[in-house]
């Protein structure tokens, strides 16, 4: 059934096991993993041993449960700092959030999903699904649609195919056709809305973060509630957001290689 990770290689298998443990979202015993694993007992056992030895997972001796290890948290901190827009965008997010006073999200595309890499809460916070490191759907979030709309056609088609089109709310777009039309509209408008498509009462306006070359680096959204804003009043913020977005893009490009590093042996 599962089509992912069918490539051979010990490393791939070990990482699959990591994913599997992550998917449980709680400490798991060997037997539970074995049941949902495609690997035979001895193999799984050795993979787990290796991962424990490497510090990628921890094994609680008292109850025999495996959990993701701290080495992962450390690695990810570096990943977040190095390969995400977050560090570059941070001051701009701070400023935008302060001026607008609504929740601001910074996201990037991860395969066919939206990965939130940073967030600023509204002055009056609303409890909602999203945190840095979390993933969300592309087809019914503002940032997702904004990033998708400006993606190269090939990638766009692939991602459109891969969506699940679950109907979260009355407003959720649930067909590829509808999504394609929406993307066209977004392109000509220049920005994307989320019209309560993911959560009732939650709306947002989103813009892509584009490199000079046109490459999609990420997306930025301002989220609010129908109680506080209309789509029009969110649209009024677009010039402001556009300004932020282009400054982030500018910085991101120049920060790629901080200095030319040259050395000779």
């Amino acid at each position: 059934m599962s089509e992912r990770g069918h490539e051979a290689g010990t490393v791939g298998k070990a990482l699959n096991v990591l994913d599997q443990i992550a998917a449980f979202g709680r400490p798991v015993k060997f037997a539970e993993l074995l049941e949902s694993s495609e690997y035979p007992k001895a193999t799984l056992y050795r993979l787990l041993q290796t991962l424990v030895q490497q510090g990628m997972i921890a094994h609680d001796a008292t109850n025999g449960a495996y959990t993701l290890g701290v080495r992962l948290v450390r690695l990810a901190h570096q990943a977040w700092q190095t390969s995400s827009l977050a560090p570059v965008a941070r001051p701009y997010l701070d400023a935008l959030s302060l001026e607008i006073g609504e929740t601001v999200h910074l996201a990037q595309l991860d395969h066919a999903q939206v990965l939130y890499v940073d967030k600023r809460n509204a002055a009056v916070p609303v409890e909602m699904y999203s945190q840095a490191g979390k993933v969300g759907p592309v087809y019914c979030t503002g940032v997702g649609k904004a990033m998708l709309a400006w993606s190269p056609l090939e990638a766009q088609s692939r991602i459109i195919e891969q969506q699940s089109y679950h109907k979260f709310t009355d407003q959720t777009l649930t067909t590829r056709r509808a999504l394609r039309a929406e993307l066209d509209a977004i392109c000509s408008r220049g920005y994307a809305f989320d019209r309560e498509e993911h959560e009732p009462g939650i709306i947002c306006v989103a813009l892509p973060i584009l490199a000079q070359s046109g490459q999609v680096l990420g997306g930025l959204s301002v989220t609010s509630t129908t109680a506080r804003h209309s789509l029009d009043s969110l649209a009024a913020l677009v010039p402001h957001i556009k300004n932020t977005v282009s400054r982030i893009a500018e910085d991101a490009e120049s920060w790629r290689f901080p200095e030319q590093i040259r050395e000779r042996a």
Copy 2:
């Protein structure tokens, strides 16, 4: 020089390469990695290929640079949620930070280092691991010393041996002997201070988070400046912190296995 990761195994090697890329903290080219790598060209090349294929690192085609990938960020979010105290401690940190109005740190031991897993700033609350994920020294931080003081003797000795004892400030303890004496004092006092040992002007008071069994789960500290607090005025907060700490410990233990999961095939 580097003593870590000398165990054989492809998985170990691949993870070493990951660490190596992480250590650069910026996009790295193949040649740079090769130079600082213990593996031959072809081997390193294949390891990188595997990691790229697995989504653990990304390879920018235009400049040939490798960066840590987004799969890592996703995995780490799960790690943070599952295996750290952060999710359990969150409401308590919020409350404590609000009442005390000073910076609060939640930390755990990662080998011989302090890993910060959550933080509340005095003024601006930060959502997630923009700050969490950082590491710090054990021998000159409040949380580090607090956790070390209540660690099993064997682990304690090992960690004491592994410290670097860099003299950050005039107050830094720079000998194992001095650290051992300090740990004794902390044990009998019941909590640890940081007397400007890491940064001038920065002081803190820290308590360990202990399970029923006595096992060290983590540490909690309240940090301030010499301008705003004396050690005595920080010590006055101890009862408050102690209360928070024991409630976190309680919750952490009962949250280990939320429910008994039973199923038969």
